[in-house]
Amino acid sequence: MLNVDLAVVTDQLSSGDIPEWDSVGNLAIISTIEQELDVEFPLEDLFDLTSVQSIVDEVIMLKND
């Protein structure tokens, strides 16, 4: 999606750590995950979704709800 080497993408990677994960990239990530995994991130949670780990945790939480 961001045309980056998968080796770069670790759980600790945060938005802004790599130039490709900018605001436009973040929007693409959030909307693609919502579409592909059939989840909807609550607006009030978006502010805290700043790393791969936090997004994974949020998806798991939404799927278990």
Partner: protein
């Protein structure tokens, strides 16, 4: 003091280094660099460039990475009369290769530029070279009108156009901007805009010319981190494009309002912002100067509108930025139109480019000494300008102008008979405009999803059309030019 009279921006930086040497000029990660250190590093890097045989008038391909090292190199080149060809190193290789072929740079500097046959030195290696500091720097006789930077912007035909900006142009733009916004030495600015674009690079020059402090922030993606910077560095100003404002609203709600008392100014530009959003910003920032510019890389910050001062006509793009800038409305023949009548907005002034890098691009770029913006609009009796349309068919995606021809070429490369792309409003309301593709029915009619998949890797994600439609025939003029406006209607 080193004589840098050809570069008013450098003169101001060197003056600050002399009058307030300990004042922090740059904050980059953990590093805090004073004006004295900034000057010392610019001189050191200039000595390095000289040691590499780079001569006045030579061009260097400079990767605009958000690092202090970029800033040293950028100004070191100016000092030596060397021309910066500023590029985004994450651009597709075809674009970088085209820019290299057009400008014939002596060398490339920065990480991420890999072009066969062109020597590229990383920022780290430039700064690590410690055998050059004793070399005396020879500052050549260079005119303020000589080219300082070449910035590549999107051409309507798809090929990027190199905009030549002189030392006088970039200084003029910074002075006009600081004069309007009021940035001064007391300010601390967070810079999260990309430095490869005119807006971000312009902010950098404004802040350092003013003797203020610039805090480098990678981008706006991580708003938690951006807000942390606003708080800990006591930031008083920043710049953003309208797409970033939509992002801030969606991802952080009204949290940013808690910085209203400390933010003296916010500069916006590069795309349109709705009147509703302007009103919301005024409500959230009642005492902050909310300054929106209108301009192009060729004529940076030609006009300004401050929202609180324009509360009764927020649909204006403003008035000329200073008394050094003039704007008029001309018809196709170059005749001035009266107030209220629509025509092409044309500008002239201290910040307007004199020419494009390639002569072919200069054709039709000017009416006399008036630069043709390609934007349609009018002026009212009070001297405010209003945009009503665009002659150029570029698509403004989140502030980045994209040529429809580039997207069409990529789609055709997948075997589609013919296609045309136009701008449509972003259905998600974030990026302003997004591309829509019209595809001509023919023998090859693959599923849209397959076309989209095929474009991944050819086009950046945001340039892949959001809407698609099959039509019988792409409308073209007798000479074969795509009639995109017809499709847009």
């Amino acid at each position: 003091m080193i004589n840098a009279s050809h570069s008013p921006v450098l003169c101001d930086i060197f003056t600050h280094a002399s009058s307030t040497p300990g004042k922090i000029a740059l904050v980059a990660g953990e590093a805090r660099i004073s004006y004295a250190q900034l000057q010392e590093r610019i001189l050191r890097v200039a000595a390095f460039l000289q040691s590499q045989g780079i001569k006045p008038g030579d061009r260097i391909l400079l990767a605009a990475n958000k690092e202090a090292d970029f800033i040293y190199l950028y100004f070191a080149a100016h000092l030596l009369g060397v021309v910066n060809v500023v590029v985004d190193s994450s651009s597709p290789n075809e674009r970088l290769d085209y820019i290299r072929k057009v400008t014939s740079p002596a060398i490339a500097l920065g990480d991420g530029i890999i072009l066969p046959g062109l020597t590229c030195i990383s920022f780290h290696d430039v700064l690590a070279a410690d055998d050059v500091s004793a070399v005396p720097i020879h500052v050549p006789q260079v005119s303020t009108d000589s080219v300082a930077d070449v910035m590549f912007t999107t051409g309507t035909t798809g090929a990027p156009k190199g905009v030549c900006l002189s030392h006088a142009n970039i200084a003029g733009s910074a002075r006009n901007t600081n004069g309007f916004i009021g940035t001064d030495a007391s300010d601390v600015e967070a810079l999260a805009l990309p430095l490869s674009h005119s807006f971000g690079l312009g902010r950098l020059r404004c802040v350092l010319m003013a003797g203020a402090t610039l805090v480098l922030v990678s981008n706006f993606a991580n708003l938690k981190s951006f807000f942390h910077v606003l708080e800990t560095e006591r930031v008083t100003g920043f710049g953003m494009v309208p797409a970033v404002w939509q992002y801030i609203k969606r991802f952080s709600g009204r949290r940013i309002a808690r910085f209203a008392d400390q933010l003296r100014y916010i500069e916006m530009g590069s795309a349109a912002l709705s009147v509703d959003d302007k009103r919301l910003l005024m409500e959230l920032f009642p005492t902050t100067r909310l300054c929106m510019h209108y301009g192009l890389t060729e004529a940076s910050r030609a006009m300004f509108c401050e929202f609180h001062a324009c509360a009764d006509n927020l649909d204006t793009v403003g008035r000329p930025a200073s008394d050094q800038v003039q704007a008029i409305v001309l018809d196709e023949a170059g005749r001035q139109l009266p107030d209220g009548e629509d025509g092409e907005i044309c500008v002239r002034g201290n910040m307007v480019t004199r020419s494009y890098f390639l002569d072919a691009d200069n054709q039709d770029a000017f009416h006399g000494d008036w630069f043709r913006t390609g934007d349609w609009g009018h002026r009212d009796a009070r001297g405010f300008f209003y945009l009503t349309g665009r002659k150029k068919e570029l698509i403004n995606i989140g502030g980045e102008k994209v040529s429809p021809a580039t997207i069409e070429q990529a789609i055709r490369s997948l075997g589609i008979t013919d296609c045309a792309c136009v701008a449509i409003p972003d259905p998600k309301g974030v990026l302003g405009e997004v591309p829509k593709a019209y595809l001509q029915r023919g023998d090859n009619q693959p599923a849209i999803e397959r076309v989209k998949q095929g474009l991944i890797g050819i086009l950046p994600p945001h340039e892949i059309p959001v809407e698609w439609e099959w039509i019988d025939k792409i409308p073209r003029t007798a000479s074969g030019k795509i009639q995109r406006l017809k499709l847009q209607q």
